[in-house]
């Protein structure tokens, strides 16, 4: 159990709420929390459960972290932070609507359902009291999950960005070929929480690594001999870099230029090195062809 000093230490030393390097002790934040409790209870309760107070405090800290600097008081910073989060929520809503219109779930009910469910976030998100909350169910797994350190609208924004990148990648290929691949290699993909981009990416990357570039929206085949010649002899960091270079080439071929998107898939590719190395010469082609990375 933490002692009091860990919460009320000198600024920057052991302060509990220290987003962005600014240290706010509990005593400095208490008046803000007191006001939030009064607003939350409508002035009708002088006490609240610890869990409620903790949640309200977490929200205060999140908002202060979004406020930036140069505010005359913590109260002013809190208001500025709430406005900043509101602005971000509006921008994220725009991203969401664009993604929902362009989404190609390829039959994945979990993907379609998750995107619809995220619409509830914008209805129920409570910046005023619980800015850290995520009032919606997120079932669809991304290639690279968003860190649980991200809270509230920050989490949703990052989740939607990544989903948008994956959707844009998959839309580079014909719907019929994507579905055929999924139905062959992931028969239960329509009803299970399986990431569909994983399979498509593996096939496409395998093709590029075996010098079979994607053309005309078709998923490339995988040449086992060419693939083995390129990567089987590699291991560790060299293999990870080869996979990243292959990803960069793939993005070039697909004309996917965004740095965020390219970085996302490049980072994902690097994580595949262990599985590729474990597959060995005989299994690596099957891994890529079947999207079993």
């Amino acid at each position: 159990m933490r002692n009091k000093e860990q919460y009320l230490g000198k600024a920057g030393e052991g302060a509990l709420f220290n987003p962005g390097g600014a240290g706010w002790g509990m005593e400095a934040l208490w008046p803000l929390l007191e006001r939030q409790v009064a607003l939350y209870t409508g002035g009708e309760s002088s006490s609240v459960p610890l869990e409620t107070a903790a949640a309200l405090m977490e929200s205060v800290v999140l908002c202060l972290g979004a406020a930036g600097g140069g505010h005359p008081s913590l109260a002013a910073a809190l208001r500025a932070g709430q406005r900043a989060l509101w602005q971000k929520t509006e921008e994220t809503r725009t991203l969401y609507l664009r993604l929902r219109a362009a989404l190609r779930p390829s039959g994945s009910q979990i993907l379609r359902g998750t995107v619809e469910e995220i619409g509830n976030f914008f209805i129920w998100y409570d910046i005023r009291f619980f800015a850290q909350s995520i009032p919606c169910m997120i079932d669809y797994p991304l290639l690279r999950p968003v860190s649980e350190e991200e809270k509230g609208v920050h989490f949703i924004t990052e989740y939607l960005c990544r989903m948008d990148w994956e959707n844009r990648f998959c839309r580079c290929f014909k719907e019929g070929e994507v579905r055929a691949l999924l139905e062959r290699e992931r028969p239960d993909y329509q009803t299970l929480p399986l990431n569909i981009c994983e399979v498509v990416f593996a096939r496409a990357l395998g093709g590029v690594l075996s010098d079979k570039d994607p053309v005309g929206g078709a998923l490339p085949g995988v040449d086992p001999d060419a693939l083995a010649a390129r990567i089987v002899a590699l291991d560790g960091e060299a293999l990870a870099q080869a996979l990243q270079r292959g990803t960069a080439r793939l993005c070039n071929r697909l004309r996917l230029w965004g740095t965020g998107l390219r970085g996302y898939f490049g980072a994902y590719a690097a994580t595949l090195a262990v599985r590729v190395q474990s597959a060995g010469e005989n299994g690596v082609a099957r891994l890529f062809a079947a999207g079993q990375l």
């Binding site: 159990m1 509990m26 309760s45 002088s46 006490s47």
Partner: protein, 152 residues
Amino acid sequence: MKELAAIGPAGQGERSLRQLAVCNEMTASFGLTLSGEEITALALRHTEVLRETGRVEFGEGIWKKLAFAFCDSPHIPPREYAPTLGELMEMFYECKGDSGERISDDELIAYMKDAFDGPCQGSLDYLRGTLLAGWSRRLRGGEGEAGEEDEE
């Protein structure tokens, strides 16, 4: 989370002491006063009860409201004022939690006063064990152990 209650605002106990002293000024005309020792004991017990019930208090707290509501009760002799006030305080926080936060401070204190002076005829045991327990359960929508309704 309990650290929030443990540290609270600086001087949670001191604020309790001040409020109880202010209550004396208010209740003296009704023949009800607290000694220094009683004030200290109540303030300490208040901190303990908040911790036991998992609550954090803000603003002025409930001492003034409780004292003002009960100071004209015909069922509190002066010698029983301190222990009665302490038990009422405990019941207040227990009921706030048991009711699922569905009742305001003022509503609860009003109910407690009406029940204490009315059906309970000054019995704290009856107030706590029967009326408040049943009322909290109804506020929470009937949640509770099976058979309790039948026993009542």
